[in-house]
């Protein structure tokens, strides 16, 4: 923990608390809005579709408002770093490639994307030799192919390269 406090914060606890509370409040408001549109009252045939969600929305907004106020009242010394700069960098260095990987799956299929993702991840964060990461990345995808397509017969998304190899 001492390491954490020495580090320059990327942003502070209060900011994060307020952002999440605000986001939840917004979600609650959306729920209320749609429930009112559908009707949140008692009709001739019983409660309308929006009846239950309407109160959910109200509770979300109320709880978020309280959480927001609590965050605002956070005193200076307790307003510690939510995440340090070095930490945020690490987290983003995993999150961004993962998001790109999730995007690539639709285009290249899961196996090829996984080879690229595992390989580049090992290169960036682990600085492994090329032959090592090639072995792990290819081996990983081949193993998954055998487990899912052959053993459990669960088809996973495939792309142009599998089609080229005739594995479709």
């Amino acid at each position: 923990m001492s390491e954490q406090s020495a580090e320059r914060p990327a942003f502070r606890l209060k900011t994060a608390e307020l952002a999440v509370a605000g986001f939840f409040f917004l979600l609650g408001a959306i729920v209320i809005f749609d429930s009112v549109r559908l009707g949140a009252k008692w009709a001739a045939d019983g409660p309308q579709p929006g009846y239950f969600p309407f109160y959910l929305g109200c509770l979300i907004c109320a709880a978020s408002a309280i959480n927001g106020v609590m965050a605002l009242r956070l005193s200076g010394d307790r307003n510690t770093a939510f995440v340090g700069r070095r930490q945020l960098k690490l987290v983003l260095s995993v999150l961004i490639p993962s998001a790109i990987f999730a995007g690539l799956v639709g285009w290249l299929g899961i196996y090829v994307s996984a080879v690229l993702y595992v390989g580049l991840f090992m290169r960036w964060l682990g600085r492994y030799a090329w032959w090592k990461l090639a072995a792990v990345a290819l081996g990983n995808s081949v193993a998954f192919y055998l487990i899912f397509e052959m053993w459990f017969k669960v088809p996973l998304p495939k792309g142009p390269i599998e089609a080229l190899l005739g594995l479709d």
Binding site: S35, G46, P47, F52, M70, V91, L125, G126, F144
Partner: protein, 503 residues
């Protein structure tokens, strides 16, 4: 002794060669899942659930499927202790309390003793919980056969109020995350009238949010992002477990029988009332420290300090299945995922299971006995192997875990949109966990949302909108009353504390 007879029939089901094989596979997978950062009981079971879809189509396959998945759960419960003791990293939230005395023991070179104590007490905790399940669940189930919508809603209410009353997290954060879960469950088709809700014209949202995706994202991706902050390397004690350490520890363990018994009692109670394994392990540790002769030495490496939380965590984790099979109300996120599995396989969880699916229920209960014995054998013999997994550098294991999560998310509905949603839930999980919003009520709310709403609406439809229906008879009234008591418990305990201070 009709239970014994049913149980023996259950053993006949569970003891087939295929089911025994699945048991071992499940345990090994479960321990690996429990050891790996970012994979835990809940999302491990969620990822592997789609693999059982075709298995459940065959005759008797539903029983095999639940045996596989529940054994993964037992394995994960065992696995959490390995990382806590050897690496001071709780692989699962319920093994945090195990690190207090387990890691100091490992540093003193007594890792083998700590591991043996942890595994053995886990086993005893689970065993006591399974015995409770064997004898209590038929009673609860036959009782619950009489339940109407009002009673069911009051049980749901009790579940969720218990989270508010018992969670260590700030009350309004618990409420907010729970209600967000309900709101996510409400997206899609209204269960009663069929109207589309909260979809805003998007075709993707027609079926709502799948809780399996939420579990994989929140617990899997979110957990990996959190682990990353701590850096990329794990440093741990070496894992040696020889026969001598095992026997020495077993000789020492009977001394702590009272601690074990207390731990198991706390665990069973917290598991059935959905408090969950995590608070149970902390409570048991605290109680043991207060009552033990060596209470002041706790934290410096006491075997008793490993026994207490492990017994409770495993007892709670196991008994969380009791309300799941008898009432259809899971006591923990992993039980919720198993419940989701039951629904997908076409079984209706709840009291009728004991009437219509006897083989399934008793096969499952028998497999709990066998699975935990198998688990104890596997972990005692293979600890060094499992510990070696943690020595794989994070930069290799992390992308592979994320690929596994992505495959798991995709296979739920064969939808790429779900893979993207998994990443979104992962980011949400990272923020919520860091800001101490509890995730368990959120997941349980997504699973139970539609059913809770349906029973609520049926109940007040019957009473023409009169809320008094939830107090209309002794049974429903006392459950609702208990729920409200738990809901306002934080407030009540605050008032009591104030009054005491004044006196």
């Amino acid at each position: 002794m009709q239970e014994i007879e049913s149980l023996l029939q259950g053993f006949a089901v569970a003891l087939s060669l295929q089911n025994l094989g699945l048991m071992f596979v499940g345990i090994v997978l479960g321990v690996i899942i429990g050891v790996l950062p970012g994979l835990g009981g809940a999302n491990g079971v969620a990822i592997l659930l789609p693999l059982t879809f075709s298995m459940a189509q065959t005759p008797g396959g539903q029983t095999s499927a639940i045996i596989l998945l529940s054994c993964i759960y037992w394995g994960a419960l065992f696995g959490g202790a390995i990382t806590s003791i050897l690496f001071n990293i709780p692989g699962e939230p319920w093994s945090v309390a195990t690190t207090f005395d387990g890691y100091p023991l490992a540093q003193k070179g007594r890792a083998g003793h700590a591991l043996t104590a942890a595994f053995t007490s886990s086993f005893i905790g689970a065993l006591i919980a399974v015995i409770v399940i064997t004898f209590l669940s038929p009673i609860i189930a036959s009782f619950a056969l009489e339940f109407g919508p009002a009673e069911f809603f009051s049980v749901y209410l009790l579940t969720f109020c218990a989270f508010v009353g018992m969670s260590k997290e700030p009350v309004f954060k618990t409420v907010a995350s729970m209600m967000i879960g309900f709101a996510l469950a409400a997206v899609g088709t209204d269960p009663v009238t069929g109207t589309l809700r909260l979809t805003f014209g998007s075709v993707r949202l027609l079926n709502g949010f799948d809780f399996l995706i939420a579990v994989i994202g929140l617990f899997g991706i979110g957990e990996i992002l959190l682990t990353l902050e701590e850096g990329l390397a794990f440093k741990g004690a070496s894992a040696k477990l020889n026969l001598r350490a095992v026997i020495e520890t077993w000789k020492e363990l009977p001394r702590y029988w009272l601690t074990s018994l207390r731990g198991a009692a706390v665990g069973c109670f917290m598991g059935i009332v959905p408090g969950g394994a995590t608070p149970a392990s902390f409570m048991s540790y605290g109680v043991a420290r207060r009552f033990s002769k060596d209470g002041d030495k706790f934290g410096s490496g006491q075997i008793e300090g490993v026994v207490a939380p492990e017994t409770a965590a495993h007892a709670a984790g196991t008994s969380a299945l009791l309300p799941m099979i008898t009432l259809g109300v899971p006591g923990s996120p992993t039980a919720a995922v198993l419940l989701g599995g039951l629904l997908i396989w076409g079984l209706q969880p709840g009291p009728l299971l004991f009437v219509e699916q006897k083989d399934f229920v008793w096969g499952l209960i028998a497999s709990m006995y066998l699975g935990n014995i198998a688990g104890l054998i596997v972990v005692l013999t293979c600890v060094p192997l499992f510990a070696a997994i943690l020595r794989i550098p994070f930069s290799v294991i992390a992308p592979i875990i994320i690929v596994i999560c992505a495959i798991g998310a995709y296979t739920v509905n064969n939808s790429l949109f779900d893979v993207w949603m998994m990443v979104v839930f992962g980011v949400a999980g990272y923020f919520l966990k860091k800001l101490s919003y509890p995730l368990a009520p959120l997941v349980l709310a997504i699973v139970l949302g539609d059913r809770a709403e349906a029973s609520f609406r049926q109940a007040i439809l019957g009473s023409q909108g009169d809320m008094a229906v939830f107090f209309s008879n002794g049974l429903v009234g006392s459950i609702t009353g208990l729920a409200l008591l738990l809901l306002f418990w934080p407030l009540i305990s605050l008032v009591i504390a104030r009054l005491r201070r004044r006196a």
